[in-house]
Subunit: 487 residues, 2 copies
């Protein structure tokens, strides 16, 4: 299908979509946060009201199964409602009011009132592997709308029908809730996505997908006459380190957990644990045995399984790697396991730690746990890093803890990285290449911060101030006044 | 002077400096914030103890005068102490603790503890025009050290002696306060700066200076194997709009204020009001008269005045511009004023709104105030934007207020943009090209956020957690627990 020509009543011309979105900024960003919250809740209700139809449509386009898709839709509705709560709380505005102070140590201080307001129209690139939660009505859209930003979504071509239907529901629900026209739009096709990204009125973009695609778009965002923030969530191998004590105490359990996490959803998660460090006498045989028994699950599409097979073959071609689990049919998307020792891995980290999206694991065996921290420290940035240890190891794990936390956004103790809970304290973002913006998250309530820009008003008249900054605090939001937070 | 070879006991090899800084991360970022605060106060005390020597040295290298430089040193010490206060308050850590919750709507929630920790070693490029406040011990250094990041400063060649002496004092004070060795270092010369920026262990960089220099460095930061955040504060023309009512009521006063702000410090401020919109029947003659009477002040150096004269000649060559104030000696760094009407300006905004660092003003005359907002909306990003109006104009200024706030980080009512107070609510950052990171500020307590990176710990053992995340809260910092802020 030539998606560039597949325009219908839902998808729009990119210039028209971004221009219309820019026209909606004043009304949407200027609305009270609790009103935006109500609109997000209306969207959540509308999506859940069409659950059966949406899940069936999603399954027909992605093969992810109705159980998983039903859960994903529930999560999508939940995160819209969770942002609505955050909007009622109001702390995201970071309101600061400094009254004029003629005695200020560096000279008379003018009256200054600062808050974080919507950055402007945001372009969201839908992901293939989460047709609900990271797509048209997903986390990027929810957090950008919550911030007060109109959103234009570029639909992922892997689920075009679902994207259009979701966009219809979102648009209708926002209208029903009284949101400005054009606060939400959809575009289709690679060219339309690039045109929207280059549009002079666009102010930020968010992307979840491959490193290759994300970097190409990041470059376009950076080379605009006015570059804009580009929040890309790219690839990650999510290292897991098993200590000798844990391997002795719970080897079989760890093997079972690893294989379950590696093969869940055919390995099509950005948090898939593709890299495992175990003692040379650890449970490698048990992992091999269990992974051989794991069935091949259908992947999202041929373009994904072809890339998986090619990536696996590239890693398997590394001279120091051995094939521990490998399908007889080289074109199969079945799980695969490679082995390598620590010294060989350390000698070629950048290549050996390249993500292969799908159910491929690389087991790195080590002789001394003390040698592992330095290798972890040399890894590229990771969404997650896990440690399986025993409580009594204590201080012996301090250096390893520091290395895991330095190279990743989320560290897990005796748990597996797949499954990203939507909470206040979730962090889904880290140094490059896992993301392009290491100071941000794309999951959890803090994701809203990506789409906010601070503005200070100096000695501005009360009746021309945004409500959040006025004396009397008509929106009832937390204000930090002369350094002290109230209420 | 070939600064690449001007190594002495203070300046270091860039590889050695960044490697040593990386070794100091654990000790510095892991210290209690109040301890880092005490170290910053020790630095402030040490700088003030050497005030006479430092001011004399600065004046000999920059010609900025002892009054201005004494004030700037006071401000520099103040902002170190102001960050120390912010560290004691602890909110910058943004601690969030979500306890495990088996009933969480999207499935069992794991225990998650998230905070913002030091991003790692930071490279600070000193500026020419603020030898104290935006240089070796300036705002970028203060906020990065406050965040827990070791700092390597690349000295500005415009004041090499002052840079070295300041670095000696800072280094000695930090050692005296018990900071880890190598938490602070200095490098000199363009090549050393670029080498430090490319160093694999570097994690962020901050720059204040020209658009040309900043963009070259930003590209180097982006093209590293692991790109790192680059916080560049580049150029700005800081538009000022005078309404017809204000021009009628206070024309002479506005002319006086404008000329004072334009020529202050020989116009060598990033907040210099280079662009003025006035009614066609506004106080242009008064501005011309006053500016003709303003003396030429010495600039920071020949490289600055040469660039000023060349930039002024480029703007004067625009066919639609007229020379309202121009020195007979074309090579003089004396103040200059150009005039243009709104339609001509709107037809060539990108060129006409280019910053010319120094005391050059471009006066744009308009017939109808209603036409100005659209032209403001088409400007590139600005550090500040000012409006001189009368209170009774009220709603008539809504659209203009929105346009000024959309294109800048700080809007001022009936005040002048030069002079940037260090406060909680100050914002010094905005869309490109005024800065490369529109969601951040380089002045005020929020500047610390640039150098923090969130990390979440999932189900991590208490004794291996950073103190800020532990039950019992040994650092006594605000913690947001299950969504509720305590204390």
């Amino acid at each position: 299908m030539n998606t560039d020509r597949a325009m219908n009543t839902v998808a729009r011309d990119p210039d028209e979509a971004v221009t219309a979105a820019a026209g909606a900024v004043a009304g949407w960003a200027g609305a009270a946060p609790r009103e935006r919250g109500r609109a997000l809740e209306t969207v959540a209700d509308a999506l859940e009201a069409e659950r059966e139809e949406l899940v069936a449509l999603a399954d027909s386009e992605t093969h992810l199964g109705t159980a998983r898709l039903t859960g994903e839709l529930k999560r999508t509705a939940f995160q819209l409602r969770f942002f609505a709560e955050e909007l009622r709380e109001g702390r995201f505005l970071d309101v600061r009011i400094d009254h004029a102070d003629p005695q200020w140590p560096t000279g008379p201080r003018p009256e200054l009132r600062r808050f974080r307001t919507a950055i402007g129209p945001v372009l969201v690139f839908g992901a293939s592997n989460f047709p609900f939660a990271f797509s048209v009505a997903g986390g990027d859209t929810a957090s950008a709308l919550a911030a007060g930003c109109p959103v234009v979504v570029k639909a992922h071509p892997g689920h075009p029908g679902l994207s259009r239907r979701t966009a219809e529901i979102v648009g209708a629900a926002l209208s029903k809730a009284g949101a400005p026209d054009s606060v939400f739009g959809l575009v289709e096709g690679e060219r339309a996505g690039v045109d929207a990204l280059r549009h002079p009125l666009l102010r930020a973009a968010a992307f979840t997908g491959s490193e290759r695609g994300g970097l190409a778009l990041a470059r376009i965002a950076a080379e605009r006459p006015e570059p804009v923030p580009f929040y890309g969530e790219l690839g990650s191998v999510n290292p897991v380190v098993v200590t000798p004590a844990a391997a002795r105490a719970r080897g079989a359990e760890i093997a079972e957990g690893y294989v379950g996490s590696l093969t869940q959803g055919a390995g099509q998660f950005c948090t898939n644990p593709g890299l495992l460090f175990v003692p040379a006498d650890g449970p490698v045989d048990e992992i091999v045995r269990r992974l051989r028994a794991a069935p091949a699950a259908p992947m999202l599409g041929d373009w994904i399984s072809d890339a998986y097979v090619a990536g696996a073959d590239r890693l398997a071609a590394l001279p120091a790697s051995s094939r521990l689990v490998w399908p007889k049919d080289g074109a199969s998307a079945a799980p695969r396991l490679l082995g390598m020792d620590l010294a060989d891995f350390a000698g070629d980290v950048r290549v050996a730690a390249t993500e292969c999206f799908g159910p491929l694991g690389l087991v790195v065996t080590y002789e001394r746990l003390a040698d592992v921290a330095a290798v972890i420290a040399s890894l590229p940035g990771q969404l997650t890093a896990s440690l399986h240890g025993e409580p009594e190891e204590g201080d012996a794990l301090t250096e390893l803890t520091a290395a895991l936390a330095e190279r990743s956004g989320r560290v897990l103790w005796n748990q597996w990285p797949t499954g990203v809970s939507v909470t206040h304290a979730m962090q889904h973002g880290s140094p490059f290449p896992a993301t392009t913006a290491p100071t941000t998250t794309s999951v959890g309530t803090a994701a809203i911060e990506r789409f906010l820009r601070p503005v200070a008003y100096q000695a501005w008249p009360q009746d021309l101030l945004p409500p959040a900054l006025r004396d009397g605090n008509p929106w009832g939001v937390p204000q930090r006044i002369d350094g002290r937070l109230t209420p």
